[in-house]
Amino acid sequence: MPEAHEGALCALMTAYQAGDGSAFEGIYCQLAPQIGGYLRALCRDPIRAEDLLQETFLQVHRSRRTYLPPRPLKPWVYAIARNVFLMSRRAGARRDRRETAVGDSLPDIAIPPEAESLADRETVRGALARLPEDRREPLLLHHVWGLSFREIGAVLGVSEAAAKLRAHRGVRLLRELLAGERR
């Protein structure tokens, strides 16, 4: 996976704001895998996540003037992706009064490296799926996609301390669930 270096991303975004279409493609190539994984973890439906990924980057395109360089780009894109997911969930609820089907495991997303030694990937995904959403999201954002707690706070609309606490509790709960699986 291309290394999503924040400084390089910021430079790409600045070039894209100046009208460089290839810079947009560069941003897409660097961020699409992790934003796609994030959306798959949120909606647990790979096909729907693919639609939401396209919609996220369309929103990025339409609102590109709202990105303020040299701020980090990732929290801005993640916040847009999360908003797209939340709006799609509301739109789905309005359209047919049913939530997106929620399986008992997460789709094919990366798992926290710390958890890999505790159980096999499928077991870890199953345990992650059982975590409450407000614990799972900061845990994945930090341990899988590498966002800082400050950035996670900005994405989720909570303080840095709250983001850290939620991720920490998520890890603790994940360990408990995996320990329960082993017994």
């Binding site: 291309p2 396209q54 919609e55 847009i80 908003n83 739109a91 309005r94 709250a162």
Partner: protein, 234 residues
């Protein structure tokens, strides 16, 4: 993992509109547009209506000082509303709640300060009429400010538009109250809390409703876009 390819539909959409854009100015700078409106209020209101009857007794600090202090608080809130509106740069719910509480406290503190140092009341039979006049005029002064503040908010693609809208509404309400402080001579708590506080509360609620409306429209647009994508995929 292989490098992801940009989907063709997305590429076409981007290529059809690849005009260079200038990033929005920072929230503090954008709040200056609201400051211009606030300045216009402070210049116009005393020209359209004589200053409050007890202006001389109050002195410049209690008259202009309190009004300007309240206006500064309103402008700070406007700046926070614009910051909250930027995706990934928001304040978070707790800080938004704190800002709303501090904004409301500022208006109360301004009134209490005036009341403590220069109490002025009105007769019981005139209280309701004068209160209604204050409420209506303050609301009339606040609405354009709210429209301007929310227009600036929605340009930043707010991800929590209701919160940004409420902050913008409170900011506009405080600015209108600050300007009307130069005119309204009644500082008794029932008048201030019910009519002035009520007008500010209404403006804040209107800001929240504008945010809700924005959100509903955004959800509809997204639903339509997803439906179109699903049709194309099918």
């Amino acid at each position: 993992m292989s490098t992801p390819r940009l989907p063709e539909r997305l590429r076409q959409e981007v290529l059809t509109d690849l005009q260079p854009v200038r990033p929005l100015p920072r929230p503090a700078l954008r709040a200056m547009e609201i400051a211009i409106w606030a300045l216009a209020l402070f210049l116009l209101v005393p020209r359209l209506h004589p200053l409050r009857e007890d202006a001389a007794a109050l002195g410049p600090w209690l008259l202009w000082g309190v009004a300007i202090g309240e206006a500064v608080a309103g402008l700070l809130l406007a700046g926070l509303a614009l910051r909250e509106a930027v995706p990934g740069g928001g304040l978070g719910r707790a800080r938004v709640g704190l800002a709303l509480a501090l904004g409301a406290t500022t208006q109360l503190a301004a009134s209490l300060l005036t009341w403590t140092l220069a109490p002025a009341t009105t007769s019981a039979e005139m209280a309701r009429h004068r209160g209604a006049v204050c409420f209506s005029i303050q609301e009339l002064l606040a609405i354009p400010g709210l429209a301007l503040a929310f227009w600036l908010v929605q340009r930043a693609l707010p991800v929590r538009p209701r919160w940004s809208g409420a902050l913008a509404g409170l900011a506009a309400g405080l600015l209108a109250d600050a300007a009307w402080h130069l005119i309204c001579p009644r500082s008794d708590l029932p008048h201030v809390l019910i009519w002035h506080g009520g007008a500010t509360l209404l403006t804040t609620t209107l800001g929240w409703l504008l945010g809700t409306l924005y959100e509903v429209r955004a959800v509809r647009r997204l639903a339509a876009a997803i439906t179109a994508t699903e049709r194309l995929s099918a």
